[in-house]
């Protein structure tokens, strides 16, 4: 369990808990030969937040995370954790737990032995191995060789490895890859559980909807460039919301709305999909024109549309 970081003021007897950046990426750049994989990317991750790190395949997410973990040397810029380069962390496994795309387990070794090795290097008691196996629901398969695991089981083992030393920060690269719908649900619950414990989580994905229910904010990368870094509310605020309405006078309502600069699409029968007007505005207009409304529902903004729009805009800029 992670306790929040704070400062105790003896004069007032109060504990002030302040959000601080635990991850700082500054002008981070990486070129592989002629290929510019990451292009002057800067963002921060505040303590105790869950941040989605998004972008299409090849956007530079994994390269950025590997630079943060000291596995790849940046061409320019810096990536720090708690103000230090990863290699300068005193006990890195106790500060950061990471799951990268590859599980990193030797296929001929059992899951339990894989974790025993990590427990030895991380200097945590052997009993912790059983705890994390239980947490990721791999107890039954603990003595099977990792080479016989499904991709989903390997992802779970990767999470168990990351959680073994009880780190305050988690860096997860595409953890939902290979998980079935039940597994994705399980992962979502686990991330929520970790967030409730006050841990900082940076989770990458190429599907916004996959992490939308869990994250506080998103960092979107495309072609190595930072496209957006904002909260989900900020991200969806600019998106056009739609209202679905059922009315026996659908055509009349559509015409009335069109006269008020709203756009109504008749979906067939008595159904309309309206953009450019809120449900309150639609209700008021309908009442003024004595048009009955049987049902009105606001559609959630389509996250994938937003994501695709942002990344497509970046691609247009790049060409």
């Amino acid at each position: 369990m992670i306790s929040p970081r704070g400062v105790f003021h003896p004069s007032t007897g109060r504990l002030t808990v302040t959000a601080m950046s635990v991850i700082e990426i500054s002008e981070l750049t990486k070129t592989f030969g002629e290929v510019l994989a990451v292009d002057h990317v800067s963002f921060t991750v505040e303590e105790g937040t869950v941040v989605g790190f998004l972008g299409p395949n090849g956007a530079g997410k994994t390269t950025t995370l590997r630079m943060l973990l000291g596995l790849i040397t940046p061409s320019e810029g810096s990536a720090t954790i708690n103000g230090r380069l990863y290699r300068d962390l005193r006990s890195p496994l106790h500060v950061v737990g990471a799951v990268l795309e590859s599980s990193g387990a030797y296929p001929g070794r059992t899951a339990r032995n894989h974790l025993r090795i990590q427990a030895t290097i991380g200097e945590v008691p052997r009993s912790r191995v059983n705890e994390v196996l239980e947490l990721v629901e791999l107890t039954e398969a603990a003595d099977r060789r990792v080479g016989h695991f499904s991709l989903g089981m390997r992802q779970r083992l990767g999470l168990a490895t990351a959680l073994l030393c009880d780190p305050e920060i988690l860096i997860l690269d595409e953890p939902a890859n290979g998980l079935d719908p039940e597994g994705v649900h399980w992962l979502r619950e686990l991330l929520r559980h970790l967030a409730r414990e006050g841990r900082t989580v940076l989770v990458s994905s190429h599907i916004l909807a996959e992490v939308a229910q869990t994250v506080d904010s998103v960092v979107i990368l495309d072609r190595g460039r930072l496209v957006s870094h904002e909260t989900l509310n900020q991200l969806t605020a600019g998106a056009q919301q739609a209202v679905r309405v059922r009315s026996p006078k659908a055509r009349e309502l559509a015409a009335t709305l069109a006269a008020h600069d709203a756009n109504a699409e008749i979906l067939g029968g008595d159904q309309l999909r309206i953009t450019g007007a809120s449900s309150e505005q639609i209700g008021t207009l309908a009442a003024e024109h004595a048009i009955p409304i049987y049902e009105a529902a606001t559609e959630a903004p389509d996250l994938e549309d937003i994501f695709l729009r942002l990344t497509a805009a970046e691609q247009r800029k790049g060409t």
């Binding site: 596995l71 790849i72 990863y86 290699r87 990193g104 032995n113």
Partner: protein
């Protein structure tokens, strides 16, 4: 460093490959020692009777193949991390990669030493078994036999350390393993056969002479048994040569490939 060494030892203890290589060392040493003992004293083989010091030592020093296997073990310890992408986890746990390299070289040397001990004991056991079957006294003293076993331990440890350094430098497991066999079986035989004056300085040959093998006795192919005019290096010189090689290759690896990106 102790923690890293414990971790590397645990890694080796928890894979079947280690036990497979150990079994290979035991089986091949027993096989070659038995073959040499069977040939001893037979006309045309060039192997003296087992009742003589020369004949018995030909059998008790058949530990060269175990040394090559020890080098292979070292190469696998280091390069296997890249083959199975476990280097990612290893370097996350220990970002100072040169420490990981030092731990791998040390652990490989320790396990290699065990391979050498096993091979030395088996070869000596087979030699004494055949010698006692002849109903004669043993032509080599206990001290000499223990010296052969000690030499096998040192030679296998040194080659295992060299193998680990090489595995770190090359990073490709297949290339490292093939390279070790090609070097030991083909290249050293060729160089040793053509230039007998440098034979004593070749790493595999130097390791085998540590264990008491006559110069050229551990060589494969046409160079086998061709001692030439030069003698083996003194024990300390051979050991220092192998240690220097392992350190040099380790330093080269630490300054080049070990620093490379793990993408």
């Amino acid at each position: 460093m102790t923690r890293l060494i414990r971790t590397e030892l645990l890694k080796l203890r928890t894979i079947r490959l280690t036990y497979g290589l150990l079994a290979t060392v035991a089986a091949l040493t027993a096989l070659f020692a038995t073959l040499e003992a069977s040939r001893a004293g037979t006309a045309g083989t060039g192997v003296a009777p087992i009742s003589t010091a020369s004949g018995l030592s030909t059998v008790t020093t058949v530990t060269g193949f175990a040394m090559l296997i020890a080098a292979v073990l070292g190469a696998i310890v280091a390069s296997g991390e890249f083959r199975h992408a476990s280097a990612t986890l290893t370097y996350q746990a220990t970002p100072h990669r040169e420490r990981v390299l030092a731990a791998k070289v040390s652990v490989s040397a320790a396990v290699g030493a065990f391979f050498g001990l096993l091979a030395g004991v088996i070869a000596t056991g087979v030699g004494l078994l055949f010698a006692s079957g002849d109903g004669t006294h043993f032509a080599l003293s206990t001290a000499t036999l223990l010296g052969h076993i000690g030499g096998a331990i040192c030679g296998a440890a040194a080659l295992a350390a060299l193998g680990a350094a090489l595995g770190s430098l090359v990073r490709s497991q297949l290339a490292a393993v093939i390279g070790i066999f090609v070097w030991g079986i083909v290249i050293e035989s060729l160089i040793g056969g053509l230039f007998t004056s440098v034979r004593a300085y070749l790493p595999y040959t130097a390791a085998t002479t540590l264990a008491g093998a006559k110069l050229g006795n551990a060589a494969f192919g046409p160079a086998h048994g061709e001692a030439g005019s030069a003698g083996p290096l003194p024990f300390i010189a051979a050991l220092a040569l192998l240690a220097a090689l392992a350190v040099a290759v380790s330093v080269l690896a630490a300054r080049t490939t070990v620093k490379r990106d793990i993408a």
